[in-house]
Every structure is written in structure tokens, then in C-alpha cells.
């Protein structure tokens, strides 16, 4: 899977992910507190300047923002029709500013940095016994590891439908896909336990074939 991260060594790349996420949260709170087009336009300019200073190039910027801009356009038209042009302008400027800054942070923070930050954030929850912070990295790794496998299985099931001349229905595609995928859970879990990856006391004893 390709991430939206763009390799680099700008000041934003070097900034701690916690600080970046905090900054984004504050930025978004401030933007939702105002409806002044002047302030919002200034925010768009600020976010745009930060993004431009990364020097990603026009092509990459377009890839990063394309889908989001489409959603923003739909929402702007929606607001324009229902609430009039003043509100629509505020919505448009606010969302563009937020989306540009958010996409820039996503582009300058690697997956590994994010996982470390989330794991660190989960530590307090670990102390009260809610989750094990280390499990989070493992779980994220597992998902990324098995997506291609699920896709391959989906294609095999779809091909089997074609070969047998069956119509492709959500039900007959999804059910075998889910059962075939989840069936592997026992052995994957046994392998994780056998390798001692999660340490003691996580195992349900006495199961096997």
C-alpha cells in the first residue's frame, strides 16, 4: 500500500508528530470560531504558504488534494443552495485551509512516526489496563500485512464466480471472503503466541486441532 507520506527533510518533517497534530487541532478550533472571510482567507494563505514551503511540486500537491477538493466543492454547493453565498464562502475557505494543512502534515509525517506517537499516547490507557500500547503497532502491521492477501482471495472468488457463470452479488462474494480470511486467525494467533511476541498471559489455553 502506498502511503501519502512524501520523503524529505524540511522543518515540518523534523517537527515532532505530537506537536503537528496538536497544531492542527488548535488551527481547526480557531477556524470554526470565526466566520469572517478576511480571517479565513488569511488562514488559507497561511496553510498554502506552509504547503508551498515544502516544495512538493504542483503534481504532488494535486494528487494530495484532488479527492478532498471534490468533497469540499460538493459541500460548498450544498451550503450555497441552502444558506446563501456568505455562508458558502466561509465554508469553502475554512475547509480549504484545514484540508491543505492536514494534507501537508500527513505528507510530512511517516507511518512509523505516527505509530510511535499513537503508542506513546496509548501509554496512559495501558496504565489503567485498557489496552497494551505495544499491541497497537502489531495490529496495524497485521492489517497492512494481510490486505494484499484479502485482495488476492477476493479476486480468486470473483474468478470462480465467472468460471461458473454466476452473477456477482455482494452476498456470495463477501461471505466466502470473510470466512476464508477469518479462518486463518487461529493459526496466525498461535504463531504470534509461539514466537512469544506479546509476552505472557495472553493465551487462551487448551485449544488446538
Amino acid at each position: 500500500m502506498k502511503t501519502l507520506y512524501v520523503q524529505g527533510n524540511t522543518w515540518l518533517h523534523r517537527l515532532s508528530p505530537g506537536l503537528k497534530l496538536g497544531g492542527l487541532a488548535v488551527f481547526s478550533l480557531l477556524l470554526f470560531a470565526t466566520r469572517s472571510p478576511v480571517v479565513l482567507a488569511a488562514a488559507v494563505f497561511l496553510a498554502g504558504a506552509i504547503h508551498a514551503s515544502m516544495r512538493f511540486g504542483v503534481v504532488r500537491t494535486w494528487q494530495q488534494l484532488r479527492v478532498i477538493l471534490l468533497s469540499i466543492s460538493i459541500l460548498t454547493v450544498f451550503t450555497l443552495l441552502l444558506n446563501g453565498p456568505a455562508d458558502a464562502l466561509a465554508v469553502f475557505l475554512r475547509l480549504v485551509a484545514l484540508a491543505v494543512l492536514a494534507a501537508t502534515i500527513t505528507a510530512t509525517t511517516s507511518t512509523a512516526e505516527f505509530i510511535d506517537t499513537i503508542t506513546a499516547g496509548a501509554r496512559p490507557l495501558e496504565r489503567i489496563g485498557l489496552v497494551k500500547a505495544a499491541d497497537l503497532g502489531l495490529a496495524i502491521g497485521l492489517v497492512v500485512r494481510f490486505v494484499p492477501e484479502v485482495l488476492a482471495r477476493y479476486e480468486a472468488i470473483r474468478d470462480a464466480h465467472r468460471a461458473r457463470g454466476l452473477k456477482q452479488r455482494p452476498l456470495t462474494l463477501a461471505v466466502p471472503l470473510i470466512i476464508q480470511t477469518l479462518r486463518h486467525a487461529d493459526e496466525i494467533a498461535a504463531a504470534i503466541d509461539a514466537r512469544g511476541i506479546r509476552g505472557q498471559n495472553n493465551r487462551k489455553l487448551g485449544e488446538g486441532s
Binding site: 450544498f78 507511518t111 484479502v150 470473510i178 494467533a189
Partner: protein
């Protein structure tokens, strides 16, 4: 949490991600394509129950937040969380937990097929329609500054599709339960 539960949640998250990458499926009887990803969210609750289903969806949301384009149409990154439509995204988690919670209570292995499918359908409607759209409307109204009633109007267009998905999720949930039972059972 047992390793097996962690693995089940991760595998289901992988299924939800994969369903976002496959082309939309056409239904035989209506000319509307079904985006399979939100169906996957309902299925997580119906098949895995509240705890593991909620974790599966949470993992998908974490992947989105850390910049992987795992949502249908290749969407991802923090920008998806700052849009007024983010309520539908964050709502997935609450929907999956609610669907799982209701499924665990409504559906038992000894019931007849009809009762099981009805139970799953009710659960999917409560979580996947009432709670998900409720949250989505609130967030949309706040994010765009329009009133609740206008946000509700905009939302209405998506309700029929999700009712249909709830029905598919109910049938699929029961089929998986027969083939590979995982749903925690409660009295």
C-alpha cells in the same frame, strides 16, 4: 485481550480496507452500485460483536489518520477528519460497536434462520442507520453551519442505500455465523 481477538480484529480491518479497493458491486435489481466498504463496517459488528468489531473499525480509522489512502476512492490522511463529513467516518466506530452490542443480544445460535436474520437487520439498522446518520447529521450541521434540518435533507439521499446494506449485512452475518460462528453469545 486474547491474541486471537486481536488477530480477528486486524483481519477484519484488512477486509474493510480491501473492500474499499475493489470496484463497487452492482446489484441485480436496482441500478445503484454498492460501495462495499461501509457494508464491511456493518459486517464487522454483526460478525465479530461489539469489542472486536469496534476494534477492527478503529484500526481502519487509525490507518486513515496516519496517512494511508485506505478509504474507498483512495481517500485518506488527516484531511478526511477535518471535513464536515467526518461524522460519518468517526461514526463508523460507534456504529460497529452498537451493531455488535445489539447483535450479541438479539441473535442466538439456537434461533430459527428468520429470527436470526431479523435480529441482525435490526442491529444493523440501529447502528448503521440511526446512530451513524445521527452522528453524521450533527457533525455536518456543525461543520457547515447549516441548521440540523438542512443537514438532515442532505443526508436523506443516502438512507435508502444504507437500509439496503443493512439487509445485505444481515443475510451475510447469518451465513457467516452458520459457516464459522464467532459472535459472542449472550442471554
Amino acid at each position: 485481550m486474547a491474541t486471537r481477538d486481536l488477530v480477528l480484529a486486524a483481519l477484519f480491518a484488512a477486509i474493510i480496507v480491501a473492500l474499499g479497493l475493489v470496484p463497487p458491486i452492482m446489484l441485480g435489481f436496482i441500478p445503484v452500485p454498492i460501495t462495499a466498504q461501509s457494508l464491511g463496517v456493518m459486517l464487522a459488528g454483526v460478525i465479530l460483536g461489539a469489542k472486536r468489531g469496534g476494534l477492527a473499525v478503529l484500526l481502519v480509522l487509525v490507518l486513515v489518520a496516519i496517512g494511508l489512502p485506505v478509504l474507498s476512492g483512495g481517500r485518506g490522511g488527516l484531511a478526511t477528519f477535518v471535513l464536515p463529513t467526518a461524522g460519518y467516518l468517526v461514526g463508523w466506530f460507534f456504529a460497529a460497536v452498537a451493531i455488535g452490542y445489539c447483535s450479541e443480544r438479539f441473535v442466538g445460535r439456537s434461533q430459527s434462520a428468520l429470527v436470526q436474520v431479523t435480529g441482525f437487520f435490526m442491529a444493523a439498522m440501529i447502528g448503521g442507520v440511526v446512530i451513524l446518520h445521527g452522528l453524521g447529521i450533527l457533525w455536518l450541521a456543525y461543520g457547515t453551519g447549516t441548521g440540523l434540518s438542512t443537514a438532515f435533507l442532505g443526508d436523506l439521499a443516502f438512507i435508502p442505500g444504507d437500509i439496503l446494506k443493512a439487509a445485505i449485512a444481515a443475510l451475510a452475518g447469518r451465513a457467516v455465523m452458520v459457516g464459522y460462528p464467532l459472535l459472542p453469545q449472550r442471554a
